[in-house]
């Protein structure tokens, strides 16, 4: 047998072995489970909406489609009217604060008021173009933005929730054309919500892809297993609603009331809290089963959130997320009167935009870690702030090492520099978007923009404005990595690890008593010097003639 032949035989054996292995794994429970999920992803609906004569169209606009939907789904709009998605209002039972997009001041585009048509392009309704929008209108609920499956239906960025009904260009002068969708086709395509439906808004919060959350961006539409083990398009292929379970159109799992720990553990019918929007809902409170250190890892769950180890970094999909937005430098225009734009080094994003100011973008961001008990308090509109040099919190994460209900959680810390009233010491609501003279993006005049913005929410403006540094904490909970990529022990258990700055508790590997170490090592060295001296002296003296 020649060398060549023998290698061929070897290769054959290897292939056979591989096939055997493959056969072995084909019946393993993991793949079986994935098959079940893959089947479930295909529609199992008992109705084919394309056969409904009510949906044959033509439809002139969105509300007409909704009217057709409501003819059968008589209670749908009433259900949606009760949700945060519709009201943009959220009452936090824990903090007794009224939150939601309508009321919160953030450090991205700052606030919704007076900027309605731009902001409400992400509202699940049609026509919220000012503060007089009728929140009881059933026909203005947008059914298809969440349920259509063609991928052709897009709300126009400045359309107050409507798609375009005739061809338009946006941003103006960009040459980017927006084509009207075939509403009949869209209506006939309806099905369960997908990552794409939810992502249409949630991946683009803050005015663009990946801007806001850090753990939600367009790369999550079809993620691979490295980016998200559960949503992996070729694997488990979870949709958002797999965890954000719904009932009567109420989607569970809100960031405004993040659960720091879900002590219900695995959800069992009858004993459930009616949501799977926590890791514990499926994995329980002692999730580690295999390996020698499973017990020790489970020991961590009373102090450490799952996300802390299992999301080693966010913005991992290739889209950078915005980490800093400095409004104070906005307004630089070129000789033609157009806002100046500068790209980042990698060309992916704008480092400066004359309309918005300076940005810092980051990818593969190691989160900030904080003790968190589920309580997040917001600085509300009109609330007095401290501008004496510190950073003003947009929200505050509560919790501490001594609180047994707190867990160490990962966060994106969004830094901002935004306009405030220097005299009245409140964060301002600037009128940014619009075609009028007061709109900042029209005339770049802060006092005018702030005055109109503040008036619209019934607040005073002294006329004196400045810029104050702010921070906004975003709990990180998506982009769960495969377990092999979880943060290793020394990620935290080391002198300069991820938790180096998190105080209030003793952690092996990170903490020590420096003075004890000094005394200890001094004694060790003294002992060593003593025995060496003793031995050396004996050696020297024994060589001497007695």
């Amino acid at each position: 047998m020649t060398c060549h032949e023998s290698s061929g035989v070897l290769r054959g054996a290897a292939i056979l072995f591989g096939l055997l292995l493959g056969a072995l794994f084909a019946v393993s429970p993991a793949t079986a489970a994935q098959d079940v999920v893959a089947k479930a992803a295909k529609s199992q609906s008992t109705a084919d909406h394309s056969k409904f004569k009510e949906l044959q169209g033509p439809f002139a606009n969105g509300p007409e489609v909704t009217k057709a939907c409501l003819a059968c789904h008589t209670e749908a709009a009433k259900q949606l009217h009760k949700t945060t998605h519709w009201k943009w209002e959220f009452y936090n039972e824990l903090t007794k604060q009224k939150l939601g997009k309508r009321t919160v001041v953030n450090n991205f585009c700052v606030a919704v008021a007076t900027n309605w048509p731009r902001c409400t392009s992400c509202h699940i309704g049609y026509g919220w173009k000012d503060d007089k929008f009728d929140l009881t209108s059933e026909q203005n609920v947008d059914c298809v933005v969440c349920h259509e499956t063609t991928g052709t239906y897009k709300k126009f960025p400045a359309g107050a929730g409507h798609p375009v009904y005739e061809e338009k260009e946006f941003p103006p002068g960009s040459g980017k054309k927006w084509l009207p969708p075939d509403l009949a086709k869209v209506a006939q395509s309806v099905g369960k919500t997908s990552r794409k439906n939810c992502g249409a808004c949630h991946f683009y919060g803050g005015g663009g892809d990946a801007v806001k959350h850090g753990d939600l961006d367009s790369t999550m539409t079809n993620p691979n297993i490295e980016l998200d083990v559960h949503m992996d398009a070729k694997g488990l292929n979870f949709s958002c609603s797999e965890c954000h379970t719904t009932g009567g159109h109420e989607v569970t799992g809100s960031r405004y009331a993040t659960k720091a720990v879900d002590k219900n553990g695995i959800d069992v019918p009858g004993r459930t809290d009616d949501t799977r929007a926590t890791c514990e809902s499926c994995h329980g409170l002692t999730p580690h089963k295999d390996g020698g250190e499973a017990g020790k890892l489970n020991d961590h769950t009373d102090r450490v959130a799952c996300q802390t180890c299992h999301i080693p970094a966010f913005a991992r999909g290739g889209r950078p997320t915005k980490m800093m937005w400095d409004w104070s430098t906005a307004g630089k225009l070129d000789e033609k009167g157009k806002p100046v734009v500068k790209k980042t080094a990698d060309g992916k994003e704008n480092a400066y935009d004359g309309m918005k100011g300076d940005f810092r973008w980051e990818e593969n961001v190691v989160p900030d870690y904080r003790w968190f008990n589920g309580v997040i308090k917001y600085t509300l509109m009109g609330e007095k702030i401290d501008d004496t040099g510190g950073v003003v919190p947009i929200n505050r994460i509560e919790g501490s090492a001594t609180d047994r209900d707190s867990r160490i959680w990962p966060f994106k810390r969004m830094e901002g520099k935004q306009p405030y009233d220097k005299k009245l010491k409140v964060l301002t609501v600037p009128h940014v978007f619009g075609q009028d003279e007061a709109a900042f993006w029209k005339t770049y005049d802060w006092p005018k923009a702030i005055k109109v913005g503040m008036e619209s929410v019934g607040l005073n403006f002294s006329g004196e404005y400045g810029f104050v540094e702010t921070e906004y904490w975003w709990p990180i909970t998506h982009m769960v990595a495969p377990k092999e990529k979880a943060v290793a022990c020394d990620g935290c258990h080391s002198r300069d690890g991820r938790l180096a700055k998190l105080g209030g508790f003793y952690m092996p590997g990170r903490d020590s008593f420096p003075w004890l170490d000094k005394i200890g090592w001094a004694l060790v060295l003294l002992t060593l010097a003593g025995v060496l001296g003793h031995g050396l002296l004996r050696l020297v003296l024994s060589g001497r003639k007695g």
Binding site: G292, E293, K296, D299, D302, A488, C489, D490, H493, S494, R495, F505, Y506, P508, G509, R510, D511, S512, F513, L516, D517, I519, G520, W521, L523, V524, T527, L528, G530, V531, H534, G535, L537, R538, L541, S542, G546
Partner: protein, 200 residues
């Protein structure tokens, strides 16, 4: 003078296994403490735990052996001859032909200074390190054990103190036991073969 079996087979097995384990525990322990990085925290703490349990099992056997053979009496402290031995190690050892003042026998194989040192090792350093170490290991069960008020930092402190004491003992012991005989390695040889020169 005669040659006799001073260290039985079990005693030697116990001593050397313990030696290896303690060295391993010190290496991994100081890594866990953050003194240096070598194996990585996961590996170091996993090994530390395994070696600790092995040593605990060994100790259970050793305690049983000490009690059943009556060998525990070797560690009963005595002041007799103590000063003479101290004087030997601080003065006499440097002079020519000054004999060790203690004459060992099979029934009393440790000199008064050794008795004190080993007793300290067995009754102070070891219990301190075991107790703090076991508490450290069972940190998550403190509330169930009624120790909810205990701080991890306190336990870590005690464990570190005991670890330094162990290291100091180790250095002193290695020097005294391996290098100060006649010839210099004679004690070491005794601990390996079990046989030493003893009085009647």
């Amino acid at each position: 003078m005669q040659t006799a079996l001073v260290f039985s087979r079990f005693e030697r097995f116990w001593h050397w296994t313990q030696a290896v384990l303690i060295i391993g525990l010190m290496i991994t322990g100081f890594e866990i403490h953050g003194t240096y990085r070598w194996l990585g925290f996961e590996q170091a703490s996993s090994l530390h735990k395994t070696m600790a349990w092995t040593l605990i099992v060994l100790w259970v056997f050793a305690i049983f052996w000490h009690l059943t053979t009556g060998q525990w009496r070797q560690y009963v402290p005595t002041g007799e001859n103590l000063l003479a031995v101290v004087r030997y190690y601080t003065v006499g050892i440097f002079q020519k032909d000054v004999p060790h003042p203690y004459k060992k026998t099979v029934r009393a194989k440790h000199n008064p200074l050794q008795r004190l040192a080993y007793l300290g090792f067995k009754l102070l350093i070891s219990p301190l390190i075991w107790l703090s170490g076991l508490l450290y290991m069972y940190y998550n069960d403190w509330p169930a054990l009624g120790l909810g008020g205990l701080q991890l930092g306190t336990v870590a402190f005690v464990h570190t103190v005991a670890a330094f004491a162990m290291l100091v003992f180790f250095i002193g012991h290695v020097y005294m036991a391996a290098f100060t005989g006649h010839p210099w390695y004679s004690y070491l040889k005794g601990m390996v073969t079990g046989y030493e020169e003893v009085e009647e």
